[in-house]
């Protein structure tokens, strides 16, 4: 079975500071990993995804994530955050069940940017 653990439910940081949102996964098959962002009162949108190849994945809005197979992690980073990055961030692992894509989400990390 696949699972995702987001180690922090809330992360407060100051504007222009760096941030890392942590994600650990468990999967017995090929690993496809996703980070989604949810702005207040909106649906989720894709930040980035890892399918294969380079372990450093760059996404939208200056975010990047590094796939680490030995540590089963896929942490999300941004070197300098802005007020507009305030949102909830979800890590997810993708698999197949009964021929359909199954996205298993973590519990989410609420990122709060303080001025």
């Amino acid at each position: 079975a696949q699972s995702v653990t987001q180690l922090d439910s809330q992360v407060p940081v100051f504007e222009e500071a760096p941030v890392e949102l942590r994600c650990n996964y468990s999967s017995s098959v090929s690993v496809y990993l996703f980070w989604y962002v949810q702005y207040p009162n909106q649906g989720l949108q894709l930040l980035l995804k890892y399918l294969s190849g380079s372990t450093l994945v760059k996404g939208i809005n200056g975010f990047e994530a590094e796939f680490n197979k030995s540590q089963t992690s896929f942490h999300l980073r941004k070197p300098s955050v802005h007020i507009s990055d305030t949102a909830e961030y979800f890590c997810a692992v993708s698999g197949t069940e009964q021929g359909a894509q199954k996205l298993v989400f973590g519990q989410g990390t609420r990122l709060t940017i303080n001025p």
């Binding site: 439910s9 090929s30 496809y32 996703f34 989604y36 009162n41 909106q42 649906g43 989720l44 949108q45 894709l46 995804k49 399918l51 979800f90 993708s94 698999g95 197949t96 009964q98 021929g99 359909a100 894509q101 199954k102 996205l103 989400f105 973590g106 519990q107 989410g108």
Partner: protein, 114 residues
């Protein structure tokens, strides 16, 4: 603008009532999904459909039903709502349903069952 629309935006419903949440996509995606989002639990899959005419059960299907009569529409029905179904419901779609697909999400429906 291409994307997913959901209706209603929010609804307050008496327990025992029947309710259908609507979802429409105009991206010609084959696969569609319904999730519920609850605080501290992330998103959990209720039902999915790989293509028009087929549906399947997700992680938390009890109390919900779906149909997929055509490519664009994927309604979710609560036959007899209960308070534990109070949640935010998201519809999503992806091109083929492959494990590498990106899923695109609608804006959500906030449902309160009293």
């Amino acid at each position: 603008i291409a994307g997913i629309t959901q209706a209603p935006t929010s609804q307050i419903l008496a327990a025992g009532r029947r309710m259908t949440l609507r979802c429409t996509q105009d991206m010609r995606h084959n696969a569609m999904y319904w999730y519920r989002q609850d605080l501290g639990l992330g998103l959990r899959l209720i039902h999915y459909s790989n293509t028009a005419g087929t549906t399947g059960k997700g992680e938390v299907p009890d109390g919900y039903s779906v149909s997929r009569a055509n490519t664009d529409d994927f309604p979710l029905t609560l036959a007899s709502a209960v308070p534990s179904q109070t949640s935010v419901y998201f519809c999503a779609s992806s091109l083929t349903g492959a494990t590498t697909d990106t899923q695109y999400f609608g804006p959500g429906t906030r449902l309160t069952v009293l």
